[in-house]
Subunit: 279 residues, 2 copies
């Protein structure tokens, strides 16, 4: 597994770096970003927070806009931001912003032509951590977080792999994709018309069925334009109540779906993850 | 003077807002962003930091990438980010990134066709503050800061108006534009071939001649690709020594010209300005 460095920026005493590599899970060239906190320069292995971005994003949005490096540097946590889908000329795509490149939904597609490249679940759960843990001074302590489509991905991946992640969190997740337009469109396309297969990637369904618990934190803006039609946090709350899942859910008056919301509360998320990563 | 709201995002308990308005100084429609800290909701008038961005930027770069809102919210400071030049189909332009739209250099152009719109000095010093102070709950306490081309603008504007600004600061300013390619190209174009007129906008020249002092802070990355050819901080340091100007200049090992550098040290700049704004 070879990786190629694209950029390096010093940031809060640590380093923001971008790399490209060939992904065997996705069958294409991929790019990711990593923030390495200053603690790694003294030979320490640090835990890793994986950040999954939302529709249309790349590895850059979170690193440029969330302001997470300050707190990661204080806490000694690395952050890895993958892209949101496979990319490239040979990769299936769609003109819509909510399907195809930039909209992988962190699932393993089963429908042609998508299944050839759209295996984001495998990439994020297996291939990328293996690569990160072999190439960088990081431990095998992992947490996962994300925003919107990436919030859904983080919750799904955390709940499907409770032994791999110390904690999970989401901003404004697509909480019940089988019942919203974004999810129905993506899942029909990537997974086919048999809705029983969709339930494997529905955070509310997984939370309702859960018996092993990963500490979970979700924050949602009350003025989010997508709240009612697409995000449906009430389904996630009901699921947590049904299974007794330890979900810390908070609604924030006046905040929207943007990175201004994420930046305002990312410190809380990093401190939450640090508590569990350092146990 | 009417302004039109374009967007609102809640951020750290305050509000990031974008507006458009007709600028009479620039003779075109302009856009700016303002961050209003939470303190304004209790009827307080807060001081204002004007942020001048660098080449190719708009009102958005600083607001999205610097992470300044957290500290502005704590300190009770508003931040105003204007665009970096006049804009629009009828406004003179150039294909190069370092001339024309996105590259106004915060000067009053005297050469045709530029002089019709490129009056960024007047816009930033007079028209914009007048508009801000009439439309928002802010006081007439002002500070000014910027990056690269905007760092030059902030230092020039601060030194040319020592009674209007409590303090000034810059990240990686173009310190001696009359002696670097960016400055020579822009000043030849906007101000003409008579180099004596350029000296009015050369921060090192102004600092050397200064007799009234504005508290000044400059931070520079040692790994900045533009350091030697374009930025020339040694000229500014020599000028400060010559006039006894109170310049706090710091060079930071490993940091580059990007917003990752600005984000790492913006807290220091805001606390520096707060000290002087609240005197």
């Amino acid at each position: 597994m070879s990786i190629e460095n694209i950029s390096v920026n010093k940031s809060f005493g640590g380093w923001h770096k971008q790399y490209s590599h060939h992904s065997s899970a996705l069958n294409c060239k991929m790019q990711f970003a990593i923030y390495l906190p200053p603690q790694v320069s003294s030979g320490n292995k640090v835990p890793v927070l994986y950040w999954l971005s939302g529709l249309t994003c790349t590895d850059e949005n979170f690193m440029q806009k969330a302001g997470a490096q300050r707190i990661a540097a204080e806490l000694g946590i690395a952050i890895v931001a993958p892209d949101t889908s496979p990319r490239g000329d040979g990769v299936a795509n769609d003109n819509a912003y909510d399907l195809g490149q930039g909209a992988g939904f962190y699932v393993n597609a089963t429908e042609m032509p998508w299944s050839k490249h759209y295996q984001m679940y495998d990439y994020v759960v297996n291939e990328l951590p293996e690569l990160i843990e072999s190439a960088f001074p990081v431990s095998d302590k992992r947490a996962i977080a994300g925003h919107s489509m990436g919030g859904l991905g983080a919750l799904n991946i955390g709940m499907l792999n409770p032994l791999r992640y110390s904690s999970m969190s989401a901003f404004s997740p697509i909480s019940n994709p089988v019942n919203c337009p974004w999810g129905q469109k993506a899942f029909t396309t990537y997974l086919g018309k048999d809705k029983s297969t969709w339930l494997n990637y529905d955070a509310s369904e997984l939370m309702k069925q859960a018996t092993q618990f990963v500490p979970a934190k979700v924050d949602q803006g009350e003025s989010d334009n997508f709240l009612v039609e697409q995000l449906k946090p009430e389904a996630l709350q009901a699921a947590a109540s049904a299974s007794g899942y330890p979900l810390d859910y908070q609604l924030h008056e006046g905040y929207d779906h943007s990175y201004y919301f994420i930046a305002s509360f990312i410190e809380d998320h990093l401190r939450f993850h640090a508590t569990h990563l350092k146990k």
